[in-house]
């Protein structure tokens, strides 16, 4: 980097001005899968949280990942989002994007959104404002000070509100929403950034049966446009949404297939379902 570029970058960092970062390059999914995890191993003090994990997620797919506690589900999410670095193996987003060479914000920018277990919305902002904050686009001080939300962004907010079915609460404070509604709002905030791959960690924990049902509809409606990976313990919920289920055990894939195949799979029954 020459001096002029260095100064300009420094200036932009401090003053928050300058051209917005370009849209992330398109993710090449021409061979089918959008996510390639190959031979990923992560160990913590000798304990192998992931042990030569190999997993592929197809573009537009809705995949459920199940497994007993300590099977490595959360660690896998951490590796994909850049929070944890694997000891060996490779992780690619599409054909051309190497996730292991990127930082957390870069990965988020490239189009991988993650919803954490505990909902964290801005409780003192309205539902609309929460989505507005999360909208993709220029986020410098001057842009937000001088320009209101563009018409297309506004339309996107409306369409996301419709998707997550919170139109009626758009002017309500997010803090006044129910637990389930907060979860949906958070999914909505992810959608505002238009991610290609959504990682959803235990979306129905603590929800009422009606909320669980609506969450299932929501996630099903997202598949196709987005690739969705759901980690969940609730087997009834998994059964209601999953076409394809991956069972993790001791840091690697034990079996993969439909939920019925999994429930009759002898090894799976032994380690997990037979409990």
């Amino acid at each position: 980097m020459n001096a002029a570029t260095a100064i300009r970058n420094g200036w932009q960092k401090v003053f928050g001005t300058g051209a917005r970062s370009e849209r992330p390059p398109a993710i090449d999914t021409s061979h089918g899968p959008i996510l390639y995890l190959e031979d990923i191993t992560v160990s913590f003090d000798g304990f192998k949280a992931l042990n030569a994990l190999t997993l592929y997620i197809d573009a537009g797919e809705l995949r459920c990942i199940i497994g007993p506690n300590g099977a490595g589900k959360t660690t896998m999410m951490d590796v994909i989002t850049g929070k944890t670095r694997p000891d060996c193996g490779s992780a690619w987003f599409g054909q051309t994007t190497d996730l292991l060479a990127m930082t957390e914000p870069e990965i988020a920018q490239a189009g991988i959104g993650r919803k954490f277990q505990k909902p964290t919305v801005f409780e003192h902002h309205t539902v609309f404002q929460n989505l507005e904050l999360a909208a993709a686009g220029e986020k410098s001080v001057w842009a937000t000070l001088l320009k209101p939300l563009s018409a297309t962004q506004r339309e996107l907010v409306d369409s996301v509100l419709e998707t997550i079915r919170l139109q009626d609460t758009r002017s309500m404070l997010a803090g006044a929403l129910s637990h389930g509604q907060k979860q949906w709002l958070e999914i909505g905030m992810l959608l505002m950034q238009d991610p290609q791959l959504l990682l959803v960690d235990e979306p129905v924990a603590g929800m009422t049966p009606q909320e669980v049902e609506r969450t299932a509809e929501l996630l099903l409606s997202l598949a196709g446009k987005h690739s969705v990976v759901v980690v969940e313990h609730d087997m009834a919920f998994v059964r209601s949404i999953a076409k394809k289920v991956t069972v993790l055990h001791e840091g690697h894939v034990l079996a993969e297939g439909t939920i019925d195949e999994m429930q009759s799979h002898p090894r799976v029954v032994e380690v997990y379902l037979g409990e």
Partner: protein, 374 residues
């Protein structure tokens, strides 16, 4: 759909409407009562009282500056009196140079205290202060640049919460010690005083006092409008998000440091302007304005009034200072106890301040979020 024009934003909440109504009436009536009513009449407003109200207005401007960084952005600055004092010193330097050869020692250029110190030349940093436009620029520039440099170092290193509050206290304390030194060239512990004229007008005439009074009112109104605009822009919602969940805001892609930095610097500029209007009305600026306790008092004004509303800050500044004026005259030894008691009471029983109390009795809660966490 919420319209976002400035006008609708300003008239959007009741507190703001009341604020502008009171400000307008005060600004119109006070000079009238001062000039038109004969002295001795019950309706006559003494120049002391009018200057006092003018002083409260500059305090109110200082309070909304603090409310913007604390109430909206969650940065608890305990050093805003430093920016206020720096603005005041810049104005004081202009007023000193206006004295010209009419000082006690009659030196054509040097202010009295420099002659007293046997200085023969004007220090370089006093150049330009004989021109009003230059001084006016410095009133904003000096606090703004200091806040920017300070904020850059602090926010980039992710200093937050109580640690940031402590270093802002250190900042104002360091400046106080520096300004107490005679060698600094700002008049030492006597500060700058004995002003004669501003822009060629006699500082002690009624007309000048009224002009300063009106200028303070206008500055307060414009400062309020600017803060209101920022608070209701998208940037305003980002800074409130920073206040409530800083790391989450960073996670969705905002450069939290830039937002804090700009808001802090802007607020310092407002504080500087307030200081510059304060000094000609009280007639003196000295290093005691940098005292750490002063900055803490400003935060108490805002807390008493109710933070995160702007008009609450104005109400708090006026209420607390009126109480201060009363107490320090009637029973001076009790003032600090009263101040402390007020702060404890408000923190325990009125987390949203006096205006929060008003809202509770008068109306259902606001539909759109502006409240701060209780």
């Amino acid at each position: 759909m919420r319209s976002n024009t400035l006008f609708s934003v300003l008239l959007g909440d009741r507190g703001t409407k009341i604020f502008f109504a009171v400000l307008l009436i005060t600004t119109a009536i006070a000079p009238l009562l001062h000039l038109a009513m004969p002295e001795g009449s019950a309706l006559h407003l003494s120049s002391y009282t009018m200057t006092l109200i003018g002083k409260y207005m500059t305090y109110a401007l200082l309070a909304i500056a603090v409310d913007l960084v604390w109430g909206y952005c969650g940065i608890l600055s305990l050093g805003h009196a430093a920016f206020f004092a720096l603005g005041g010193y810049a104005m004081g330097m202009y007023l000193m140079r206006q004295i010209g050869p009419r000082g006690v020692y009659g030196h054509p250029v040097l202010p009295d205290f420099m002659v007293f110190l046997n200085w023969t030349e004007l220090p370089w940093f006093w150049y330009g202060f004989d021109m009003f436009w230059f001084a006016a620029l410095m009133v904003m520039f000096v606090p703004g640049v200091l806040a920017f440099a300070f904020g850059w170092l602090a926010f980039r290193s992710r200093v937050t919460g109580v640690y940031l509050s402590i270093i802002t206290q250190a900042l104002t304390y360091a400046l106080m010690l520096a300004f107490f030194r005679n060698n600094m060239g700002f008049g030492g512990n006597n500060g700058l005083t004995d002003f004669k004229e501003i822009l060629g007008f006699d500082m002690h005439s009624s007309a000048t006092r009224i002009a300063l009074f009106v200028a303070s009112a206008v500055a307060l109104a414009l400062g309020y409008i600017a803060c209101k605009y920022i608070a209701h822009s998208r940037a305003g919602r980002v800074i409130q998000a920073v206040r409530d969940a800083e790391s989450r805001t960073r996670f969705i892609g905002y450069r939290v440091e830039s937002y804090k930095l700009w808001i802090f610097a802007f607020s310092a500029v407002l504080a500087g302007i307030a200081g510059a209007l304060y000094v000609p009305q009280v007639g003196i600026i000295n290093p005691s304005e940098f005292q750490p306790i002063n900055s803490i008092e400003i935060v108490i004004w805002v807390a008493v009034g109710g933070r995160g509303t702007l008009y609450g800050a104005v109400a708090g500044a006026v209420l607390v200072n009126y109480a201060k004026t009363y107490f320090t005259a009637a029973m001076p030894e009790f003032w600090l106890y009263a101040l402390g008691a007020m702060f404890v009471f408000v923190t325990l029983f009125l987390p949203r301040g006096v205006v929060g109390l008003g809202d509770r009795f008068l109306k259902k809660p606001e539909r759109v979020a502006e409240a701060v966490p209780a």
